[in-house]
Symmetry: C2
Subunit: 343 residues, 2 copies
C-alpha cells in the first residue's frame, strides 16, 4: 500500500520514511526523528549525519502521520462568503495569504460557504474536525458569531474587520472612517454639494465606520449628504443601476458619489454614462480601489486605495504568530489608505 514514486530516475521506489533513514544511518527511528526536528539533546555529529542521509534519499515527512500524532494540521483555512466572489477581494486576499504562507510549510485550504447562513456551520466543522490550525475570514460584524465561536473554542483566527466584543482578538481592518472623510473632502474640493454614498450592508462593522466618517465629514464641511437604505454594496448591480437611474429621472441626482466598492462604482458610472451625465463635469465619484481595474476605465475616477493583498499577507502572518504563541495577547491592525496600489 505504500506510495509509489517514479520521479526523476524512472525507477519505481517506495517513498522513504524515517525508518529508511534510520536503516541507512544505523540509528534508531526516534533518533532520526529528533535529529530532523532539531531536538537539543542530539549530538551535532549525529544531526549532520541524519540530515545528509535524509537529503540524499529525499526523505520528506509524511504530513498525515505527523498530523495524526501531533494534532497539527499545517493547514490554514480561508473561509469565503458567497459575496466575496465579486471581483478582486477574495483574489487579492488569497494572493496576500499565499505570500505569507509561502516560505512556511502551511497549506492554504479554501472553504467557500455557498450561503451566508451556513458559514457558521462551516467554521464549526473546521473547529470540531480540526481541519485546520487557524481560520481567516472577512465581513466581520460588531457581535460576530464566528468570532464568538472561535474565541470560545480557543481556536486561532484572524478576521478582516473589527468587532465590538469585549474580548480582544486578532484582526486586520482598513481605516474606513478615514477613507470616507478623505472621499468627502475630495468631493467638496471639487465643489460638490449633494453627496451620496453606497455603503456596505448595515450589519457589518465597517458600515458604521464608513457612515460615521461620511456623515460627520459632510456635516463638518457643510454639504448635504445621503446614505440610501435601499441599495448597498451587496446589492445586485441592476438594483444599484436602477436606484441611480430613478434619481436622475426624478431630477434628484446627487453630484458627488462616495463608493466603497469597485463594482458598485462601475455600475454607477455606467448608469451616469447611459444618461449622458459626465463624470468630472456633471458629477464626481470617489471610489475605493482594491484592484487595478480603474487604471483601465475612462473617464478616470478618483480613488482611495485599500490594499487587500497586503491585508491578506498581514492576516497570514498574524495567524501564524497566534498559532505558535497560543497564549500571547491578541492585537489588531488598522490599515491606512495608500497612495499607490502595489500588488
Amino acid at each position: 500500500m505504500g506510495t509509489i514514486m517514479k520521479l526523476g530516475t524512472g525507477a519505481v521506489t517506495k517513498r522513504p520514511t524515517l525508518k529508511t533513514v534510520a536503516e541507512k544511518t544505523g540509528l534508531a527511528v526516534t533518533t532520526v526523528s529528533k535529529a530532523l526536528n532539531g531536538a537539543p539533546e542530539i549530538a551535532a555529529k549525529t544531526r549532520l549525519l541524519v540530515e545528509n542521509a535524509a537529503r540524499e534519499i529525499g526523505y520528506v515527512p509524511d504530513r498525515a502521520a505527523q498530523r495524526l500524532r501531533t494534532g497539527k494540521t499545517n493547514v490554514i483555512s480561508l473561509v469565503l462568503s458567497p459575496h466575496d466572489e465579486i471581483l478582486g477581494f477574495s483574489n487579492s486576499l488569497t494572493l496576500g495569504l499565499s505570500r505569507a504562507l509561502r516560505a512556511t510549510n502551511y497549506n492554504l485550504l479554501v472553504t467557500p460557504s455557498f450561503e451566508e447562513s451556513t458559514e457558521i456551520k462551516t467554521i464549526e466543522k473546521i473547529v470540531r474536525n480540526k481541519m485546520a490550525d487557524g481560520i481567516i475570514f472577512s465581513r466581520t460584524e460588531p457581535f460576530d458569531e464566528r468570532v464568538r465561536l472561535l474565541i470560545e473554542n480557543n481556536f486561532p483566527f484572524v478576521c478582516h474587520g473589527r468587532t465590538e466584543l469585549s474580548s480582544t482578538h486578532s484582526f486586520v481592518d482598513f481605516d474606513n472612517e478615514e477613507f470616507a472623510r478623505l472621499a468627502v473632502s475630495q468631493l467638496a474640493n471639487k465643489n460638490r454639494k449633494r453627496l451620496f454614498a453606497v455603503m456596505p450592508d448595515r450589519k457589518f462593522t465597517f458600515y458604521g465606520h464608513l457612515k460615521y466618517g461620511f456623515t460627520s465629514a459632510a456635516a463638518d464641511i457643510g454639504v448635504s449628504y445621503e446614505v440610501p437604505d435601499d441599495v448597498n454594496l451587496d446589492s445586485a448591480p441592476e438594483e444599484i443601476y436602477a436606484c441611480i437611474a430613478r434619481r436622475i429621472e426624478k431630477g434628484t441626482c446627487p453630484d458627488g458619489f462616495v463608493c466603497a466598492g469597485e463594482v458598485a462604482a462601475m455600475t454607477i458610472m455606467a448608469c451616469l454614462s447611459d444618461h449622458d451625465l459626465l463624470v468630472g463635469r456633471d458629477v464626481d465619484i470617489v471610489a475605493k480601489q482594491t484592484s487595478r481595474v480603474f487604471d483601465h476605465i475612462r473617464p478616470r475616477v478618483d480613488t482611495i486605495i485599500e490594499n487587500i493583498a497586503e491585508a491578506g499577507a498581514m492576516m497570514g502572518k498574524m495567524l501564524l504568530d497566534d498559532i505558535s504563541n497560543p497564549n500571547a495577547p491578541r492585537e489588531g491592525f488598522v490599515q491606512r489608505p495608500e497612495s499607490e496600489l502595489l500588488l
Copy 2:
C-alpha cells in the same frame, strides 16, 4: 493530546473516535469501521445501530488517520500560475471547482507558484509527497511538461487547455478557434477592414487555435489582419497601451480589435478613449468575456462568452471521476461560446 471539544454544550470532551462508538454499542472497533463504510458483510441491524450511535455522539472520522492508513488525502490541489491572478480567471475557476467539490468530502487546496518556472517543482512536490489526490491547472502548452510528469507518474489531473501529446488525458478547453471566427465575423459585419488581435503568449496551445481561427476567418472574408508579436495577454497593461498608442500616433490604427482577455480589452479601450477614438464609431472591439465587468463598462463592447466557472466545475467533476476510476480512459471536453454568462 486528544483534541478538546467545547462546541454547543459548553462541556469539555474529547473528540469521539471509532473506539468511543465501539464502546457505546458494545461492538468491536473493526465492526464499527466497516459498518460506517458500508461494508457488505455487516448485518443491516448492526449497521443501523452503529449509524445511530455515531450520529448521536457526533462521530466524524479523523482525516489524518484515514489518510495515513489509506493513502487517500481527500484533497484536490489547484495549482495557480502567477498570471492567473489577473481579474476573474482563478476566481471563477475556484468558484466552479468549489461547486464540484461541494457535496463531496474533498477539500480544495490552493497552491500558488510565484514564478512560472517553479511550477513544475510545485507539482513534483505534490506528487512526491502525495499532498493531494488530484491536480488542476491551466495555461497548457502543446508539449506541456506538467502533463508529461503527471502522466508518467499516473497521477490524476485535469488541465485547462489541450496538449499535442500522443497520450490522451483529461482536459477542459474552450473552442478558441470558434471564438476567433465569430469575433472576426462580427467585426466584418460592422464593416471593419483592418483587424488586430491580442493573443496569448505563443507558447500556449490556445494561441494556435486562436491564431488559426483569426487568420483563416479574416482571409476567408477578405479583410486585412495582424497579430502583433510585441504584446500578448500576459503583457503589462502599460505595454499594450503603449503599443496601441503608437499605432494611433503613426496613423496605422486598426479599425477592429479581437481581444482574448478582459483586461487587455479594457486597456485598449482606455487607450482609444484617451486618443478620442470612439468604440462603435471609429473602431469596434470584440472581447472574450469571462466575468461580468463588461456589463458595467461604457461604451458597450461586443463580447463572446467563455464560462470559466462552468469549466472549473467540469474539471472538478472529471477529476473526481478520474480519481475513482483510475483505469478508465481519459477524455477531454471543449466548451462552446455561450450567449449569456451565468455565474
